[in-house]
Amino acid sequence: MTIMVIATVMVGGNSIMGGYGSSLRSSIGAVFISTVDNMMVLHGYNSGPRVLAVGLMIVFSIMVFALVQRGSRSVE
């Protein structure tokens, strides 16, 4: 449960180090994750692919946000 909450916050693109982020981002992340999860349930996937998909989403979004953030910092 805790992990899922942290996952939604991550997918929303909030920084875990603090400093920026918003509740809107977290809610978008929550909606996104639960939509994907629900769709996968409706398509008859088991828990394995679902956990894998959520994990992939988190890792992917962390990487994308980290790269975007680093890019904007190096421009400054």
Partner: protein, 347 residues
């Protein structure tokens, strides 16, 4: 001799406190229960040490480097599933080797990405926690995998030298190797450097990538070995199992005297911390204590350790501040003396 002992204690207050604590816990249970100091209990404690010690070691290294590896439980579960699935077809040693290769390379890849993306490890490993759990579910096909040949579990928990089994001997060997690596090689010292003072270390020319990859590779290796040992010992593996090891290992690492700020602590501390936790757990089971009381005592132990660490750090800082003030005073006195001397000098 006595002076050297005293110096060692004042150099390593956290480690010596951890050792004192473990001796106290052992002595308490040894005195209150006559079955506790026997070698049979020692064997049981060492068996628990085999898995928890590895996780404690991995987390100690991560905390020394100023990071934390949350994916350790998932990595261990994946390794357990791989080991158990391949043991029937390939034999236990090669199955374990495959699992170790997989978990170590997963760790190294994590370390690489943490250093490359410059994110905190806690961010990325939350993701890999879920990801690896999913991979483990895939690998196990969402079932509990089981061995068919139970000679391997028999072998891995044979008693040797009263206290040890092949599993715990392997773990002790691992501890010695990692301890030597951390203490006496350049790579090990780099890990301490990026944990204690990361900016300074990078300014001094240490690249972040190499120590980070090494730390997470060792962490993955330990997780894989722990998972493999659990899988082989029980003969079964579940993809959703081993979630408790992360918290248990963190508690062991902190009781062993690793500092949350990074850069402090060591392999001996990890071993001592795990042993303390195991003494406490086993001793309370011997005294027929309910499970929630075990958690309570563990919490009390942790708070005592953290209070000691905070206290000793505050004491250290106060001493240092006093020293600096005294030095400044001395300097000021010398200067005024010199001024007076120059004034009074004729001509």
């Amino acid at each position: 001799m006595f002076n050297r002992f005293k110096n060692w204690i004042s150099d390593n207050p956290d480690l010596s406190f951890a050792i004192l604590l473990s001796i106290c816990v052992y002595a308490y249970f040894g005195l209150t229960n006559e079955l506790f100091p026997t070698h049979r209990t020692g064997f049981a404690i060492m068996e628990r040490f085999a898995v928890l010690g590895l996780v404690g070691l991995a987390l100690t290294l991560c905390i020394i480097a100023g990071e934390i590896d949350l994916s350790i439980g998932s990595n261990a579960a994946l390794a357990a599933v791989i080991t158990v699935r391949f043991t029937d077809s390939l034999g236990a040693p090669s199955a374990l080797l495959i699992a170790l290769l997989v978990s170590t390379s997963i760790g190294a890849i994590q370390g690489y990405f943490i250093a490359y993306l410059r994110v905190r490890a806690i961010v990325l490993t939350v993701g890999t926690l879920m990801l690896l759990r999913g991979v483990a579910l895939f690998a196990a096909e969402e079932k509990t995998v089981m061995l068919t040949d139970f000679r391997v579990p028999d072998f891995i928990s044979t008693k040797m030298l009263w206290y040890f089994s092949p599993a715990s001997l392997l773990v002790i060997l691992m501890f010695i190797i990692v301890g030597l690596f951390m203490g006496y090689t350049r790579f090990g010292r780099e890990i301490y450097a990026i944990g204690g003072a990361r900016k300074e270390a990078i300014a001094a020319g240490i690249s972040l990538k190499r120590p980070m990859i090494i730390v997470f590779a060792i962490s993955g290796l330990c997780a894989g070995l722990g998972g493999g040992i659990i899988g082989l010992r029980s003969g079964t593996a579940q993809a959703l199992g081993l979630q408790y090891v992360l918290l248990a290992g963190t508690v062991a690492a902190f009781i062993g005297g690793v500092s949350i700020m990074g850069g402090k602590g060591g392999v001996i501390g990890a071993a001592i911390g795990t042993l303390t936790v195991n003494f406490l757990n086993t001793g309370l089971v011997f005294n027929v204590t309910p499970a929630f009381m075990v958690q309570l005592y563990l919490g009390i132990l942790l708070i005592v350790v953290i209070m000691f660490q905070t206290g000793s750090r505050v004491f250290d800082e106060n001493q240092r501040r006093k020293q600096i003030l005294a030095d400044a005073d001395n300097l000021a006195k010398q200067l005024t003396k010199r001024k007076q001397f120059l004034k009074e000098r004729p001509g």
